[in-house]
Point group: C2
Chain length 125, copies 2
């Protein structure tokens, strides 16, 4: 139990950078599928039931359920039961995490490693 409150940032789960990468691997995997990407995009408008999702994206109900299950396991969506219907909605956490992950690459925006010394260091002696 090291560094529990180390950074004190937001809802830090106390993960090392490598673990964060693992989590993002799973997150990206969930998004790396056209149908699921469309589901996520659609869910931006608000929570929807499985039937509505399948309907609007012209998916078959079983496929919609399967994709939603994957998204749920990756933490992208959460479900709320209401009678027979199950309403799926986006969870904000993974998007925040992605934002944090991206922040580690933000220096690329500006400098883009234009310095050559790093580059030349790869040359053998």
């Amino acid at each position: 139990m090291r560094g529990t409150g180390e950074g004190g940032r937001k809802a830090d789960s106390g993960l090392r950078r490598d673990d964060m990468d693992e989590r993002h691997t799973e997150l990206f995997g969930a998004l790396a599928e056209p149908s699921r990407m469309r589901i996520v995009s659609l869910l931006r408008e608000g929570p929807l039931s499985v039937g509505e999702i399948a309907d609007r994206l012209e998916l078959r109900q079983p496929q919609a359920s399967k994709h939603l299950k994957v998204l749920q396991q990756a933490g992208v969506v959460e479900v709320q039961a209401a009678a027979n219907r199950r309403h799926y909605r986006l969870r904000p956490e993974p998007f925040r995490e992605m934002e944090d992950w991206l922040a580690g690459y933000r220096e690329l925006w500006s400098e883009r490693f234009d310095r050559l010394d790093e580059y030349l260091r790869n040359m053998p002696d």
Copy 2:
């Protein structure tokens, strides 16, 4: 040829939202693999040759080459030949694109669809 300079934003490739999603599907696919994620993470420090990447991540050279190829096709990295060596470096574009994509979900941070009217709309009459 509509709206070429429409928004005047950065390097807008003139893609519709659906096309953007397709591109991100590919991008996420490239990142949805532990070794590739580690390669990307490693390349933050600066450009590296294939051998160095394979070395530091304890990958075999062919695997490293394959993963780099996938990353390259997804536009995540670019290569620069120098003698026998090929130096791979991160491209800033995909990260910017991810940032833009994320922006479309930023409202989740704050409100998180707490309004119930959208939710109740799903109820049958």
